[in-house]
């Protein structure tokens, strides 16, 4: 029997949701019939709107999908303006102020505190420069991710950007694929560094050579969510760039027809892959969903992958100054936990215009890249004061930090994430010395097992938990070690569980020191972890209180907003009307 969500989707889903959304926006929050809240909020996701958590009713997170992370000239300014004008809530964030943009791990943009009533104006502004929120959430083709410097990279073999763009245009708003059993995440890259992170996507195109021709190998069924992480598996299919869209049509139709619509927990294609295996997946694709003979896999480039591998050479990320294939440069700026104030975003838009082409790009490490900077402009750009906060040469702990949304806005969360990770990164920068040959050290913090911050593929993985300290419940983190991608991708080993959040920086400090003492010459952290068993590793993680202070130990999910002066759930102004005035609520 199909789930309730499936029934709602049968009634209204896809493009047609927009009309209803606009009508509700016109009439105001109260116009959504009370007994239809759940159905409409489920549907609004398809248009990029996700109702924020308990205590924040009537406010939405809005996701803007930027394929391959490409933000074209003129777009960043509009994003900054929209954030400044509309993404402000009833309380400020102590680290980030009253308006900010989140650059996400899937090269998208998230804004918070969006009011239903403002949506028509926001859509108009975004769409006037070619941006949109369509299918940014919901059971559909999500934002396509890839190598953020596609088309500009010296390590590129196939320019994947036109292919990504074509997929984006083909599958955005396409009624044949607008109602899938679950989200559908696609990655495509043509470089030999692995920065598409195809291994953790539902459908991945990775560069490969066949009979002297360059194209893509196809992998299926990756994903990190819940406690069921999967690496995408090889389908044994190679496609030339001009046929990538045909295989994408076929695979997403296969998923549409065969994905589990009776159990949302079992719906992602990774579970169908578990059930069928790659051979059956391939033969069903061949027999029912494509009308040409599929080629077998070509020669891939995975042994050259460096992205997020912990290898300490090559590109582990895109931070820093790098030469493009056209002689210009790109400058990758570190954005700590992916959050940038609206004013800073506006200033960056100006700098990108002044020194580059006006284009910027988002990475899967929550960072931003200014592209197309001529050599003669480099020094002036690097001297700009904004780059002190968003550095192209940051401490490894600032650079390696990723954090998800957490209890600030997210209903699934267990713990506070972004502000905590900001404090962790600063403390680690000031108190911990990595071995001299380590300038990359990735720490990913996710507020729950959904794994939006991709914790399982970091050197140090942190995942929201709780524990008791002196009898009182406090926010805590599970600690995992040694995850990463590359030719031999590996998920973290969870070695130390339920560490009170204020003891985690001490634990990482002790771990790094123990690593330094016990490692062999030249041994990377990732190899070090791989060579040791869980017990040995657990002993090296010694949780400890230090002078690090954590203001978020107190079960922040029980507040209406963790940083409000009066954070009590009862003190919440939500739901509010279009101008932010509290509405009577029956909750």
């Amino acid at each position: 029997m199909p789930t309730k969500v499936e029934n709602w989707k049968d009634e209204v889903y896809g493009n047609e949701i927009r009309e209803h959304l606009m009508e509700f926006a016109e009439e105001g929050w109260d116009a959504i019939p009370e007994d239809e809240h759940d159905a409409w909020f489920e549907r609004f996701k398809w248009w990029g709107l996700y109702h924020q958590r308990s205590g924040q009713e009537s406010y939405f997170m809005m996701r803007i999908g930027t394929p391959n992370g490409v933000i074209e000239p003129g777009q960043l300014e509009v994003i900054g303006e929209v954030a400044k004008e509309y993404a402000t809530g009833p309380a400020d964030n102590p680290e980030f102020g009253d308006a900010y943009c989140d650059w996400t791990t899937r090269q998208s943009i998230q804004l918070h505190w969006i009011k239903l009533e403002d949506i028509p104006e926001i859509f108009e502004k975004l769409e006037s420069v070619g941006l949109g929120t369509q299918q940014a959430c919901g059971d559909s083709w999500r934002n396509i991710v890839g190598c953020p410097v596609a088309g500009k990279d010296k390590h590129e073999h196939v320019d994947a950007w036109p292919v990504a763009k074509d997929l984006h245009e083909t599958f955005k708003g396409n009624d044949d694929y607008s109602n899938l059993p679950r989200k559908w995440k696609v990655a495509i890259a043509g470089c030999d560094e692995g920065c598409g992170q195809g291994d953790i996507n539902d459908l991945a195109f990775e560069p490969a050579e066949k009979d002297g021709e360059l194209g893509f190998n196809v992998r299926i069924g990756g994903g990190l969510s819940r406690k069921e992480p999967r690496l995408a598996r090889e389908l044994d299919v190679w496609v030339p760039p001009e046929q990538a869209a045909d295989v994408a049509h076929g695979m997403s139709a296969l998923f549409r027809d065969h994905g589990d619509r009776e159990d949302r927990f079992n719906a992602r294609i990774k579970f169908l892959m578990d059930e069928w295996g790659p051979e059956k997946m391939r033969s069903v694709l061949q027999e029912e969903y494509v009308d040409f003979e599929l080629e077998t896999a070509g020669e891939d480039m995975r042994d050259q992958y460096s992205y997020n591998t912990g290898s300490q050479d090559g590109h582990n990320d895109h931070v820093g100054v790098h030469e493009q294939n056209d002689g210009n440069y790109y400058v990758g700026l570190n954005v700590l936990v992916g959050r940038m104030g609206a004013d800073d975003t506006l200033e960056l838009a100006e700098l990108a215009d002044e020194y580059g082409s006006g284009e910027v790009r988002l990475t899967q490490r929550q960072n931003i890249i200014v592209t197309d900077v001529p050599e003669e402009n480099l020094d002036d750009l690097l001297d700009e004061p904004l780059l002190e906060d968003y550095s192209p040469d940051p401490s490894p702990f600032m650079r390696g930090s990723i954090a998800c949304t957490g209890t600030e806005f997210c209903s699934l969360s267990i713990v506070e994430t972004k502000n905590r990770q900001v404090r962790y990164a600063r403390w680690l920068r000031d108190n911990v010395e990595l071995p001299a040959d380590h300038d990359e050290f990735h720490i990913h913090l996710s507020g729950c097992t959904a794994s939006c911050a991709q914790p399982q593929i970091a050197d140090v993985s942190l995942r929201g938990m709780k524990t008791r300290k002196d009898g009182e419940p406090v926010e805590a983190l599970d600690i995992g070690l040694g995850g990463g991608l590359g030719d031999d991708p590996r998920f973290a080993d969870w070695v130390e569980m339920r560490v009170p959040a204020d003891e985690v920086p001490g634990a990482i400090k002790n771990l790094v020191n123990n690593f330094e003492d016990a490692r062999e010459d030249g041994e990377t952290f990732r190899d070090f972890v791989e060579d040791r068993d869980e017990e040995t590793l657990a002993e090296m993680v010694e949780p400890e209180e230090t002078d690090y202070h954590d203001p978020y130990m107190h079960n922040t999910k029980m507040t209406w907003y963790p940083y409000a002066e009066d954070d009590d759930m009862q003190a919440s102004p939500a739901p509010t009307d279009g101008s932010g005035e509290p509405l009577p609520s029956d909750d």
């Binding site: 029997m1 789930t3 309730k4 969500v5 009370e34 007994d35 239809e36 809240h37 759940d38 489920e42 958590r53 308990s54 009713e57 969510s225 406690k227 159990d263 949302r264 927990f265 209890t407 209903s411 699934l412 969360s413 267990i414 729950c448 097992t449 959904a450 938990m465 709780k466 524990t467 008791r468 419940p473 805590a476 569980m497 339920r498 079960n555 999910k557 029980m558 029956d586 909750d587």
Partner: protein, 113 residues
């Protein structure tokens, strides 16, 4: 009216008559359960797996973990609240910090999701 209960957002919360009523991240004390070896399970709710109604009780099976011993899994049926008067549909949540006794089975008002 009939009472409408479901879990949403991948099990993040339980909706009762289109109102968000029970959330993940709370701690529940479970007694006489075989969830783990602890005398009382100090249970962190991480996701609502199934919801059901045994009038007037609203019940759920919850995925999570005992934060004392680390055992993780899915609980038996737990009463998470009541809708005493189906006409008004008003929901009264139980105090999750008091002691609860999970049960093996419940009558489902509708097939589980």
């Amino acid at each position: 009216m009939t009472t409408d209960v479901h879990q949403l957002d991948d099990g993040a919360w339980i909706s009762v008559n289109d109102s968000r009523e029970v959330n993940v991240s709370d701690l529940w004390l479970l007694a006489r359960s075989d969830f783990c070896g602890c005398e009382t399970t100090d249970f962190l709710a991480e996701g609502f797996v199934k919801v059901g109604i045994d009038y007037p009780d609203i019940e759920a099976r919850i995925a999570g973990q005992c934060i004392a011993c680390g055992e993780s899994g899915v609980t038996d049926w737990l009463t998470v609240g009541r809708v005493v008067d189906p006409e008004s549909g008003e929901f009264y949540g139980v105090d999750h910090e008091s002691i609860h006794f999970p049960e093996k089975r419940t009558r489902l008002a509708r097939p589980p999701e």
